[in-house]
């Protein structure tokens, strides 16, 4: 396992403006990861690739993950005056974690044969601010994988040389891997007797299709 702490401090010293955060992983695999701020994503990637002591020259796996808005409930004990007597009462505290989309890069070094270093980039939300820097200029191996994430999650990679849909067809509108994706009941273009089915299908196929 790589020393994430030292990578974090090295990167933060070398790149002004880089903010890294260690994301703990409680599974027995203990593969912890580094969350990188969007604006310095490309610079951090270049540094990790070229720094002689790390040399992460091989971006093995690029994954998109969807984290929709989540309501977290937490039970807390509060002291309250009930009927003139002070009592300890349990209250449910609700917090909302805003939704975001995430890309996860698994990096290895072919030269020094170590890894994986896992870095994550997160979008600001799931609707309009879905831009992330493309790391394809640093690792060409991310090209098709980032295209796939664009296709299935709708993350827009700035600086990607050829950002098109790759697995779905070009006219497709939605992002199927998102957690809130609603499947059309009927993929057939042929008219069916059910109006709702037709309406739903229309959302997926543009007029005149």
């Amino acid at each position: 396992m790589l020393a994430l702490e030292s990578i974090k401090t090295q990167v933060e010293q070398a790149i002004p403006g880089a903010k890294l955060e260690i994301v703990k992983n409680d599974a027995p695999s203990a593969q912890h990861s580094l969350l990188v701020n969007n604006t310095s994503g490309l610079a951090v990637a270049k540094y990790l690739r070229d720094e002689p002591s790390w040399r992460f020259d091989y971006a093995s796996n690029v994954t998109g993950v969807d984290w929709p808005e989540l309501e977290l409930t937490e039970k807390i004990k509060v002291k309250k005056v009930v009927d003139g007597v002070e009592k300890e009462v349990e209250e449910v505290k609700k917090t909302v974690r805003p939704g975001y989309l995430e890309t996860v890069y698994h990096l290895y070094s072919m030269e020094l044969k170590h890894g994986p270093l896992i870095i994550r980039l997160r979008t600001e939300n799931r609707t309009d601010k879905v831009h992330l820097p493309s790391l394809t200029p640093v690792w060409r191996g991310a090209e098709f994988q980032e295209r796939e994430i664009f296709d299935l999650y709708g993350i827009v990679f700035d600086g990607h040389p050829d950002l098109r849909r790759i697995l779905m067809w070009d006219g497709f509108k939605d992002f199927p891997m998102r957690k809130d994706y609603a499947e059309p009941d009927d993929y057939e273009y042929e008219p069916t007797p059910h109006d709702e089915v037709l309406d739903k299908a229309k959302q997926h196929y543009p007029a005149g299709a």
Partner: protein, 388 residues
Amino acid sequence: MQSIEPSKNFEIRPKLSDAGAVEGELLEVSMGPQHPSTHGVFRMDIVLDGEQVVKLKPVFGYLHRNHEKIGEGTTYLGSMPYTDRLDYFCSMTNNWAYALAVEKLAGLQVPERAEYLRVILAELTRLQNHASLCGFFVQDMGASGTPLMYAFREREKVLDLFEAISGARMMCNFMRFGGLRCDAPVGWLEQVQKVVDEFPAFLDEFQALLSENEILMARTQNVGVLPRDLVVNASITGPLLRAVGVNYDIRKVDKYGIYDRFHFRVPLGERGDVYDRYMMRVLEMRESVGILQQALKSVPGGPIVDPKAKLRGFRPKAGEAYGRIEGPKGELGFYLISDGSPNPYRYRVRPPSYINLTVLEDMCLGHNVADVVIILGSVDIVLGEVDR
């Protein structure tokens, strides 16, 4: 279904000089998706200047069924038979990669006997995948029939072994988290020994037929050469990577399973052309035979599955894990995120042949159309895995 332009198979467009003057004609060809050399439904948009490729874009997704989404909708074990359908030539290694990722996620230990059987099954898979790839590849070059049938004769022997142990030739669904589904039947290891003992004779015959064949050498040497820097940068793995001389074999690097107990060499190429990729496969088959001979000598008795592994109600703790193995086509990895429920929150496959296609254009530029066929053949793609 869609109002995309009806696919035109041929289109002539003007070839312009830098100044914009018409210099000649370029032909845009849509090769595939039903072309026999594409090994499935795979298409290439090729722009040709005469016979030479000036641009090539791979187009795929015809078999896309969103395997990863289906994986999120079923239990961990429910995805196991579905991994068989990724790279349907190598279901055993697909099973292993997935099982390895889940074992990392849940912290399961694999018993000794299961580890040995896994190695045996994975190396048998490598033998049959490489043998049939070499057969297909020579078939693409025009050696119609004979080498492919010789290779398939050997493949069938291996598939008989798979059928004996798992009940299915190709869709084996044999590995489980923390071990295997069942033990090998009586006499199975002796059958394996017989197949492995006979395999070098096939390799000798195959090499005598092909490796120094003048036509094969003329067609493949210095064709589809990849520079070393690009290969590493583009995450190319497997025989394509080692054909340019990069010593990176996950069996050696990660030593997953019990691969540190066996002596084997990692064949390395020099030029990174199509011929080197062919030779990588032949040499890797020889090394696999060596691993099998060592493994078969020392298979211990004992249980074949971790007693802690639960078949029903399997809920790993929240967390994530990435497990990877050296599949016959390259690095096959599974990345799982668990939220503590019976289904994975995220189930990601790192498909080697999909990523190896990234550099298809770089390999083909400047070559003839006929070379595109063998370059694609040397990448070794299976569309079940590319499209997922």
